[in-house]
Symmetry: C2
Subunit: 186 residues, 2 copies
Amino acid sequence: MDEVRQRDRAGTRRRILDAARKLFTELGYDQVTMRLISAEADANVALINRYFGSKRELFAEVLAMQGRFPGVLDVPEAELPRRLAEYVAERLRSERGSPVMAALIRSASCSETHGLIRDRVSSAILGPLAARLSGPEAIFRATVATSLITGAGTLSQLYGPDAFDAPDQETVIRRLTAVFEACLRA
Amino acid sequence: MDEVRQRDRAGTRRRILDAARKLFTELGYDQVTMRLISAEADANVALINRYFGSKRELFAEVLAMQGRFPGVLDVPEAELPRRLAEYVAERLRSERGSPVMAALIRSASCSETHGLIRDRVSSAILGPLAARLSGPEAIFRATVATSLITGAGTLSQLYGPDAFDAPDQETVIRRLTAVFEACLRA
DNA sequence: GAAGTTAGTAGACGCTTGTTTACTGGTCAA
DNA sequence: TTGACCAGTAAACAAGCGTCTACTAACTTC
């Protein structure tokens, strides 16, 4: 016993980063403790600060490692509502979807991460979405759609995967498509 | 100096309750400390537990003291979308609006208050709204509308009162009315 | 006026938090 | 083989948290 641990800087760093991503996603910023991360990553607590500086910087790195709304927006503008509806419905259903969005929602109340999250929402959702809209008041219309996205996330967190209890998935998607159309149309 | 304080059980209890309501609204459950409440209420920390048992019970009492969506839903069903739009737009603009909604949003990430908040959202927003809808899938349609309400609250918290930067208030209300119609129509 | 009740107070309790320090012992170049 | 480097560890740090206990003193009741 008292096994000796291998020395693996890059690997340990990655294990910590993965553990942090998972936990921040599931629990939000201030529900996650350094010791929780270290246990999940099977690494010593001190190594987190050694590799990432602080909890806040680790969180920032978790946010930064995510792509921006991966692929969701890469469709013709006319298909955007349907695409967003499918994305939101899928995220509600599967409880996974975009991990960062979940982390954002769960961490919005923490003043320490307020700035980080605002910038992330802007650069990952609001900005790209507005950029794909033609016509006037693109930012405003994108903001309304973003409200729906984050709100659905909040309710999903509150009520679980069956938050939107409709007879079937297609009903959910059709309804959300209509709502996103109302959000986005010029 | 060393002024003597008057003995006023009911008054002190109320001061604590008011302070708690204000702070929970502005900061959310776990950003608010007992000592912060006691300072705001100008009362000793121990009195909070004496009068309310625990922080959690105090929060529950704050939630309970609020009316359920005061007056917002008391209109014919056809006018509900416009009414909700005005309500949300006003809340965004003035930064105050429904204090409880704000507290709910800001406290949703805390597991300790998860149940309290879910019940409160159900009984104060989702339930009454669904009850006023005719046609099939009333709960589902009310849930979609609730998503927009909570999401708008989240974005308002994130970006401040100018989250929805439209040329004027009427533009915001018209857009939101259309979106709520898409959420609620049978 | 004396005794009992109780609002209000000060301070400590045990615990958890993020962070830091001092140290151990593998790894690798010279 | 020896020495410098550094991944990994254990323990402690100060600060903050919710909560509780022992106490003071102002009211009420007889």
